[in-house]
């Protein structure tokens, strides 16, 4: 418990988290502080490229673990099954209709790459190592949740036709392609490639992350201001409970796979985090009747800050205890 508290305090006092808090506060106070859309997108491209590349390099250096394939498979299953849990929990806790519940559930099966990145940066500051291929697991977990959520929704009648365009959009979504592609580049070029571009992908990484989280704080605050009416107590409870369930499922998987302590934390983070880029876009196409304010506010305004502030230290402490790392 003490460990959790001190970790939480450390975590809360990092520039990354404080930048998020600054953005959130500015936005709630209705400051006009804002970051241009192009800059936000540019930062997200940088982060995806850097995280994928570094993951690939790490696989190139440490060789492929026998568990790589199993981990990918586990990630896919986790992503596909968590929406069922989320859907059930939503029906217990909230009065969302099937469409909205399905759309929310899709977000929680999928993952948030920024939460993942924040996780790796906590691990590094704790000196915990982790499997480099976890970033590939992250990529593998982006899409399956969408499919199971659409299946959940279509069971209620009404045809949710997955046309081939939508399939392509989901699978070849820009963030998945960039993550997988830069992972492959890092893998192919290895330490030598890293030496060439490490002062781009490594050194400024955490600083860029600060500004990116500043932006996410601003956007989350804006969402909370306009969407707060929609976030009833039941939904709020879901936004905090679901990541804990997701992290527990991630923990179970990590233990089965025998991941390192760091890898266990990241698997928990992937389970716990909710998408706010790829899944919302897919939901707008496939389930236009669902209200985006609900899933965006919940994912970005409730679950993301929860994971960032309290979740991460808890996941680290639990993983250390359980794995003895």
């Amino acid at each position: 418990m003490d460990q959790i508290l001190s970790l939480t305090a450390d975590n809360l006092l990092s520039p990354v988290i404080l930048s998020f808090a600054l953005g959130l506060a500015a936005s709630l106070a209705r400051s006009d502080l804002s970051i241009p859309e192009a800059i936000a997108k540019g930062m997200s491209i940088y982060l995806l490229f850097a995280i994928g590349f570094k993951g690939g390099v790490s696989v190139a250096s440490h060789g492929i673990d026998a568990t790589l394939g199993l981990s990918l498979l586990t990630g896919v299953l986790l992503s596909a099954l968590l929406p069922l849990v989320a859907f059930f929990l939503l029906q217990v806790l909230t009065d969302l209709d099937r469409l909205n519940a399905g759309a929310v559930a899709a977000h929680y099966g999928s993952i948030s790459i920024v939460t993942y990145v924040a996780g790796t940066s906590v691990l590094e500051s704790q000196g915990l190592i982790y499997e480099g291929y976890m970033v590939a697991v992250a990529a593998a977990m982006e899409a399956p949740a969408i499919l199971s959520a659409l299946w959940l929704i279509s069971r209620g009648g009404g045809d949710r036709k997955m046309d081939s365009d939508l399939w392509r959009e989901i699978i070849l979504n820009g963030s998945i392609v960039l993550l997988v592609g830069s992972f492959a580049i890092g893998w192919a070029t290895g330490e030598e490639g890293l030496a060439e571009i490490s002062s781009f992908v490594v050194s400024p990484f955490k600083g860029v992350l600060c500004l990116f989280l500043l932006d996410m704080g601003i956007v989350a605050g804006r969402g909370l201001r306009s969407g707060s009416g929609l976030i009833k107590p039941g939904l709020l409870a879901f936004g905090v409970l679901m990541p804990v369930l997701g992290a527990s499922a991630g923990l179970a998987c990590a233990l089965l796979l025998g991941l390192s302590t760091g890898g266990t934390v990241l698997m928990m983070v992937l389970g716990a985090s909710a998408s706010y880029i790829a899944v919302p876009a897919a939901m707008r196409v496939a389930v236009p009747e669902a209200n985006p304010s609900i899933y965006l506010t919940l994912s970005l305004g409730v679950t993301f800050p929860f994971n960032l502030t309290l979740g991460l230290p808890i996941y680290v402490a639990v993983a250390r205890t359980v794995t003895g790392g």
Binding site: I35, P36, S44, D165, D215, V219, S226, A281, R284, P292
Partner: protein, 103 residues
């Protein structure tokens, strides 16, 4: 100067639906259109702004087609099929164009 009657159709639609709309327009024989970025807006589903957004989920574009009057109906049918279940606004204005052979 010599001008000709035409229709200016302005479709404000979610960014995620842009390619589906333009495909539908092309199937309906409309090959000319111009796409304007939209910075923000407000409607029954609340107010929004593009600033700082990374996801394409919350964002719209404006597709402007200038067409001969006789092709309006085909265009509207095609547009409506896409816009129908989605949020979006379609408006039609009478206009005059130079170089009618282009439309």
């Amino acid at each position: 100067m010599q001008t000709h009657d035409a229709k200016r159709v302005e479709i404000t639609i979610e960014a995620v639906m842009q390619s589906r709309l333009t495909e539908a327009l092309k199937s309906a024989g409309v090959t000319g259109f111009t796409i304007l970025p939209v910075f923000g807006g407000s409607g029954r589903s609340g107010e929004w702004s593009r600033s700082g957004q990374v996801s394409r989920a919350s964002g719209m574009v404006q597709v402007i087609c200038i067409i001969r009057p006789e092709r309006l109906d085909a265009l509207l049918e095609a547009a409506f099929a896409v816009v129908d279940r989605h949020i979006g606004v379609v408006s039609v204005t009478n206009c005059q164009v130079l170089r009618a052979e282009r439309f």
